[in-house]
Symmetry: C2
């Protein structure tokens, strides 16, 4: 990496850290300049505006999410194994970022009544993930792992709902049982749709990180 | 009501409105004085501090929630009818407050990393409702409507999860299908725990309000 690229990556890293703590709206060029011991104009040289920086932060968050959750799941067989790998990776990532919180979830509450480019960017990332889950569920039907009349939208809705509850319970209520509840809920959910011919349900490979 | 009580109630009403729009943290005495065309010291005469006012707002929100959702459910028979009435009322209230958002859910994200009396107050309200749902689920087991080995904590977790998803999808994604998904999910959930001897599943009485 050239020097300029290195500086840009370092700014982005700091910004991601700050946004995880204070929310995307809490992000200011001044705060970053302070943390990086740079001038504000130095930060502006890499990101034209505060909004550009906020959008770059969302994209960087998404890139890491894909690296950690989505890409490894593609190594699993199409169908139920891949769907379960995606869900395991997602839930595991949540348990790992309990302290900072998930930018997609806190961002949804931050921007649900604030239209504009930041909301649009967040929304496109969140719906991309939702579509990837839906595609994997449909492939599980296609592969004969789930019944032909499986309501995939419903399945993905309930999978996503439990992740929202994990975030809520772990961060707000301080209850760590949500991960086990997700395991039980996912098993029940898949079992109710599972084709008789399908092999046993792949277990979720969850790594629970204690705070 | 005496004049003083009327003024206090009017301040609280305005504060509830502002907090629904801008969050509890967005609430300031100055903003309320402005809206009410009162002096700041006039507001302070009724609420000793900004924090007192924030806590009073949470309590007023909870009082209305109980009036609208909890109390009417007590008119239903113990067991599955009451549990379903509580859930119907809760989901209906959500569809009604889509524009302003739910203070319990947005408050959870606002305060999940901010310890203090406001978080404590919110938490006690949220867990009170959670316990009420759990009690109703256990009564449904006691009445023989749900199987004796029903995992009530799991049942309530999944019910709550779908409400979080309704709030997320309706407000952030702008997707209105969540209410139907909740109906389907609740039916599937209850069916999987329902005692063979129980009568047919009470339908959720949902009133969907189109934005």
């Amino acid at each position: 990496m050239r020097k300029g690229e290195q500086t840009r990556a370092a700014i982005l890293d700091t910004a991601l850290d700050l946004a995880s703590r204070d929310g995307l709206e809490g992000l200011t060029i001044g705060l970053i300049a302070d943390r990086m011991q740079m001038s504000k104009s130095g930060v502006f040289a890499h990101f034209g505006s505060r909004e550009d920086l906020q959008i770059a932060v969302i994209q960087e968050y998404h890139r890491r999410f894909e690296d950690e959750v989505f890409l490894p799941s593609l190594l699993e067989d199409r169908g139920l194994p891949r769907l379960s790998a995606m869900y395991s990776g997602w839930v595991t990532r949540h348990t790992r970022e309990i302290d900072s919180g998930c930018m997609y979830i806190s961002g949804a509450v931050e921007y649900d009544d604030r239209p504009g480019p930041i909301r649009d960017e967040l929304l496109s990332m969140v719906t991309a993930w939702q579509k990837a889950l839906l595609r994997a569920a449909r492939q599980a039907v296609g592969e004969g792992h789930l019944l032909a009349d499986t309501d995939c939208e419903q399945l993905v809705f309930e999978m996503r709902a439990m992740v929202l509850a994990l975030h809520h319970d772990a961060r707000f209520i301080g209850d760590r049982h949500a991960v086990e509840r997700i395991e039980r809920g996912y098993r029940r959910l898949i079992d109710s749709y599972r084709a008789a011919s399908a092999s046993t349900l792949p277990r979720l490979k969850l790594v629970q990180v204690v705070r």
